[in-house]
């Protein structure tokens, strides 16, 4: 692997009730984050191929970590998202190189299918800052019940020469969805939208 990882953190949240109403089955979200060395800290690098390749490695690694943490089979994944936060000696474009060109295909392999665009966010940041990872349905972006997000933060990352890269996967939508729109059950999952 090209990537140099300092640490990996995996979080799983399970929501069993909201406003006194039971949620059965409980909704569950996982987020896996890798703290990596930024190979281009403090330098302007025109060709970002190395970061794109690292993005591919992390799509597989972090996607798999999420699925394992949820204890599900890949086909049971329902929504996903990805994000990166770049330490102060990097640039926002580094996040784009990690997330967009090559991360999608290996991530989709870990959750089976994945016709829909992977929702994403990116920012510059410092140790302890919050990264909100957006979530959308993996096969049909218009499924309204699965628009969500999960927060991740590590008190010691990203240091200035590091990048935090996060992938989130769920096996469910929001806890008590009732704003209508396309449902998980009615999604076709061919064009990635409906």
């Amino acid at each position: 692997m090209k990537v140099k990882i300092r640490k990996i953190a995996v979080n799983v949240e399970e929501t069993r009730q909201e406003i006194g109403r039971a949620i059965s089955p409980a909704t569950r979200k996982a987020v896996a984050v890798a703290v990596i060395e930024n190979p281009f800290a403090n330098i302007y690098q025109e060709d970002l191929t190395e970061l794109m390749d690292i993005g591919a490695e992390l799509g597989e690694l972090l996607g798999r970590k999420c699925v394992e943490a949820l204890g599900i089979t890949p086909d049971q994944a329902e929504s996903y998202g990805k994000s990166a936060m770049v330490g102060e000696n990097g640039e926002l474009e580094h996040a784009a190189a990690l997330l967009h060109p090559k991360m999608g295909a290996p991530l989709r392999a870990e959750v089976e299918q994945g016709a829909a665009l992977v929702a994403s966010s990116k920012k510059m940041g410092s140790p302890g800052q919050v990264l909100d990872v957006p979530l959308g349905h993996k096969d049909a972006a218009y499924v309204r019940s699965h628009f969500d997000a999960i927060e991740v933060r590590l008190n010691d990352a990203p240091r200035m020469n590091e990048i935090m890269v996060a992938v989130a996967v769920t096996d469910s939508g929001r806890p008590l969805p009732r704003v209508g729109g396309l449902t998980h059950e009615d999604a076709i999952g061919e064009d990635g939208l409906r």
Binding site: R6, K7, I8, V10, V12, E14, R16
Partner: protein, 193 residues
Amino acid sequence: MPDLSIRKTAFSVEEIFHEGGPVPAESLRRAAGIAIIENPFAGRYEPDIQWFMKDLKPLGLSMATRLVEMLGGPDQIEGYGKGAMIGEAGELEHGALWHAPGGYAMRELLSNSNAIVPSTKKVVGVGGRLDVPITHINASYVRSHFDSMEVGLNDAPRARELALVLVMSSGARIHNRAGGLVAQDIVGEDGLR
């Protein structure tokens, strides 16, 4: 857990490979579990609260069991800690109810756990963070294992909730070199050395 109202749980595991120094053969792993439950004493002063410790026992055991599983079994665990955050309609004393059920649950599952479980607690608003201390499970003075893990959730604890936390670690700080009692020299009788 008949009398407990659990709104959500979250479990985290961290694997630390290095912190700028040489990469050791074994990485350090830390795991934390947090349960968000209804505070039965929220909004009033209740003189008699100790009965609730019994209700918390099964929760402590289930959280400790899951942490042990996440780290690969009881023989993998060398450090532990616990903590509580109390939503604003409660009082600090409510967090103290977690000491016995949280601590003894972990020690029940781990052999050679003579050391007191370090702890911390505070009253917070939603999104509050807690730095949970970690020390060696068998001898509190083992300097290499003094550590902590930060926990918290953006949507908890609400005013009438408690956030109860257990933490375990697989070993020493990743580049530990500050001296003191080392794990190999533990006597293991008094829980201190």
